[in-house]
């Protein structure tokens, strides 16, 4: 076995960080939903892909810059997320049942995507895909850099809001003990709607990033579920920076595995890491 060059290793680490940033962005909404609302929202992945397809459609037919589509997608998905939460609350869906109900929503969204865009592959061709920064022998493609920036930026911003603002404190209080928080005047229902909308908007942002860097097919919704769950559980439920750190750890480890060993071993990495952490710290979830 020949050892990879330092350039290859460094490029692979970058590739892993880029992938990890997207894992973190996808995991952020799921983690907040699971940790603070006690809802295992599988529809998060479907919403991400819906966002990706909408980005693709707006960019190819209306020639809107993919980043500008955020102006439409973020508020739209906020409303969708709040709507889903309202439905789950109305139906008094428990935590476990939320997984089943949102899985059903995922299947419906997948069917919708296939009906509108067919099962054929779609690739957003934008001017961003031609742009890349070169740092010595290393390449930093623009779409991946944007994903990294958004992933880090949104994770940090979410952490700051939760830690330093009154709304953040109210959200954390609701999550920790809803009845006591209510006694202090926190409107739990409004907080939950706000958080659900925010999580769905995060899915929309992740969708824009997916559209910029990946090919789209409705069936690909499911290929992300396993690794994102691993990120969320490794990062800790309800912790804004957790999925980003875990995502980068998984992404880099997968990339290095693909570089040094066989790419087919890469999927083992995320779940092996998860098993080790759960064995060592079983109270993590």
């Amino acid at each position: 076995m020949t050892l990879p060059s330092w350039t290859l290793l460094a490029q692979s680490i970058l590739s892993g960080l880029f992938a990890g940033a997207l894992y973190g962005l996808l995991g952020l909404g799921l983690s907040l939903s699971w940790g603070m609302l006690r809802q295992i929202n599988l529809a998060h992945f479907a919403l991400a892909f819906l966002g990706a397809y909408l980005t693709y459609q707006l960019s190819t037919t209306l020639r809107i810059d993919p980043l500008v589509t955020l102006v439409l997608i973020v508020p739209l998905f906020f409303a969708i997320g709040a709507g889903i939460h309202a439905m789950l609350t109305r139906l008094r869906v428990t935590a476990f049942n939320s997984m089943l109900v949102t899985f059903g929503i995922t299947v419906m969204v997948e069917a919708l995507l296939q009906w509108v865009w067919t099962a054929d592959y779609r690739k957003l061709e934008s001017h961003y895909s031609e742009l890349r920064l070169r740092v010595g022998p290393l390449f930093l493609p623009a779409p991946e850099m944007m994903t990294l920036a958004m992933g880090v930026g949104l994770s940090l911003a979410t952490w700051l809001v939760l830690q330093r603002t009154d709304i953040g404190k109210a959200l954390r209080a609701s999550a920790e003990d809803a009845s006591i928080a209510a006694a202090f005047g926190v409107n739990q229902h409004a907080m939950a709607l706000l958080l659900s909308g925010f999580n769905a908007a995060l899915a929309g942002v992740a969708g824009v990033c997916i559209a910029l860097a990946y090919t789209l097919a409705p069936s690909q919704i499911y290929t992300w579920i396993g690794v994102i769950f691993a990120c969320v559980m490794l990062g800790g439920l309800g912790r804004p920076l957790g999925p980003l750190v875990a995502g980068c750890l998984i992404g880099v480890t997968e990339a290095l595995t693909m570089t040094v060993a066989s790419p087919s071993w890469a999927p083992l990495v995320s779940f092996a890491l998860l098993m080790v952490v759960l064995l060592l710290r079983p109270g993590r979830i």
């Binding site: 296939q114 592959y121 493609p141």
Partner: protein, 400 residues
Amino acid sequence: MSLDRRSFSVALGALGASTLLGSHATAQPAGAPIKVGGTLALTGPLSSVGMVHKLTGEIYVDELNKRGGLLGRPVEWVLKDDQSKPDLTRTLYEQLVNSDKVDLLIGPYGTSAILSAMGVAQRYQKTLVHHTFGVPPLAKYDQQFYAWALGPEPEKTVPAIVFDALAAGNKAPKTIAVVTSKFPSVHFISAGVREVARQRGIREVLFLEWDFGNRDFGPIAGRIKDADPDLIWGGALGLEANQILDALKKIDYAPRSSFWYAPAPGPMLKAPEANNALSLTIFEDHPPFTDNPVAKHFTEVFRERATQANLPTTTVEVQAAASYSAWQIIEAGVNGAKSLDNKAIAAWLRANQVDTIQGRLRFNGPGNFGDDLSRVKQVQDGKWLVVWPREWAAPGAKLR
């Protein structure tokens, strides 16, 4: 044994002339319809290709009925949606045989689904003609017949054809990187490539495998760039070829030569980084394939109806050609045996040859397989053009 282009064109011309003329002279079919049963991936992840097969079948059955059907009777295609699921395929073929009581069977799309259908066909001793089976050694049933002419040992013949093409174009590789999905029909060929390369003295500088559904091709591209082979052999399915080429472009690496086994043909034409990429085909919509009237007519009708149906691909290539050939085999088998008896049809097919739009097929080899009629095609300025063998090359096209 392979059929030369001249004989193929003459035979198809004669068939085509009689076919096209016959459409005006043949009496309308009458009586109870002959039911041909099958499934396709009309929904699910494989549906984009499934729809190509559906359209091809509809075109063929329409025209067959205009020509008098089979044995003077109209043909009805009983088509069910297997939703891209091999387990559902098995159930649906059971239904086709037991509930719908079809007379004949035609295979579904894809190796896994065909294997499921084959099991059912074998149980009920039905002859099964299939069009997209990628692993010939797995086809053990003696009444199954292929329409995609890969031959019994494509893992040896396909790489040989590709290496011959490169040698003839003065691009014989000294080094090769074999990068492959672990999807069975693709992986099987890639394993053969390694052996054929070794026999021809081509040094393997890289071998990588990934699971089907892999998201990140960055590290794979990095390893390819590090290895810097003369030829990348990509055992890539669907859009994986585009994903790897895109990942290579991002790190500023352009392959000297690349071959992709089963790429999604449309996206390869649209990607600038895929220019000069090679792949495999049995038919392309250009001369000499379209020199015969049957093929030319089919390509025109397909283009028209695919445009109306808003299909992403409106030209006839491998999938549509294999599908059309399957129907031609069924028609030839029934007419040859002058019967709907499945065993008689199978016996006739094994003893005879069938002229199809991809060439003359024989079924008397191991596992009922015949010749490998693969040709090498190349993306040249936004078009797939056959470049090898020379007698099948598009006019003026040469390997770049």
